[in-house]
């Protein structure tokens, strides 16, 4: 095989790989496209006069997606946050045109539908009798990185945790089984996000008075492989 032939073969192989990789992400790409467009609309609300038309068009196009229940929890979170921003910006304006009122109604409907779809998921698990109530995260005094970057990184991690939890929980009947899977992932794959998710579940279970000491031992062991002391878990 000549050099040119070898290069062309490699070129074709790499192009095929990328084509298939993108094809696998087709649905996610479509969802992201919708979220990205909504985000752009929200950002340009202050400078565009026709934003009600833009948002109206977005709802018209994406309402079927909501019915299909095609969004992942992390994507739903994103949409809720953006719609909330849009709602806030609209309530800041004095206008109360019929078009704006219609958009408010749509925002409420999306919010309600997303919350209801989550309730259905929670009903499947008998292990969550009490709704989860998030606590305010502790403030850190560590000035090691710019605040905006640390917030963006945590936000990114938080989105991943949500998606990872959804993946692990889909075939499990009890939160303890999800915790077991998450700890295994942290132990065997040295997955840092799985370690954080495990710690979160353990703390949640602790507040619900579950017996958690065996899981704390496993968490400490897993933490050692990340260079942590394993003392503070």
């Amino acid at each position: 095989m000549s050099q040119v032939e070898a290069l062309k073969s490699l070129e074709s192989l790499l192009e095929n790989f990328l084509e298939r990789a993108v094809k696998l992400k087709q649905n996610q790409l479509q969802n992201l496209g919708g979220i990205n467009r909504l985000d752009d609309i929200a950002r340009q609300m202050d400078i565009r006069d026709d934003f009600t038309e833009e948002i109206g068009n977005w709802f018209a196009e994406h309402n079927p997606w909501l019915k299909e229940n095609r969004f992942k929890p992390a994507e739903e979170n994103r949409i809720q946050v953006i719609l909330e921003q849009i709602g806030k910006k609209m309530s800041g304006s004095d206008l109360g045109s019929p078009a704006e009122n219609k958009i408010r109604t749509e925002i409420d409907r999306w919010d309600r539908t997303i919350k209801e779809s989550r309730k259905l998921v929670l009903k499947r698990g008998p292990e969550t009798p009490r709704p989860y109530s998030p606590t305010k995260p502790a403030e850190t005094t560590k000035p090691a990185e710019p605040v905006a970057a640390s917030i963006a990184r945590f936000d990114h991690t938080f989105q991943h945790l949500g998606a990872m939890f959804a993946d692990l929980a889909v075939s499990r009947a009890h939160l303890l089984s999800v915790l077991d899977d998450s700890l295994k992932k942290a132990e065997t794959q040295k997955n840092k996000e799985a370690l954080i998710l495990s710690a979160l579940i353990i703390y949640y279970l602790k507040l619900d008075r579950y017996k958690i000491s065996p899981y704390i031992r496993r968490l400490k062991e897993a933490e050692k492989s990340f260079g942590g002391s394993g003392k503070d878990a």
Binding site: L18, V22, I35, Q85, A152, D155
Partner: protein, 77 residues
């Protein structure tokens, strides 16, 4: 709200869909600081870079071939 890194990753994937590998590489580069621990991102980023390098190499070989043909034409002509 989506941050600029996420928007860049999304734009990179869209560019890959259009087979605009050069643009995709630019967007991957912009998104890289935020996704440096994301294995899937790194795989796509590195593969795109490798593909561009291969294409560059192929283009260079083609140019060399053209040069030889021109030289031969002159020497025999």
């Amino acid at each position: 709200m989506l941050n600029t890194f996420e928007k860049a990753y999304f734009a990179a994937l869209q560019a890959l869909q259009r087979k605009d590998y050069s643009k995709a590489a630019d967007y991957f580069k912009q998104a890289a600081p935020h996704f440096k621990d994301n294995k899937e991102f790194n795989l796509l980023h590195e593969t795109t870079g490798l593909l561009l390098a291969v294409k560059e190499q192929l283009a260079a070989v083609d140019v060399d071939d053209d040069k030889i043909k021109i030289e031969e034409t002159f020497s025999n002509g």
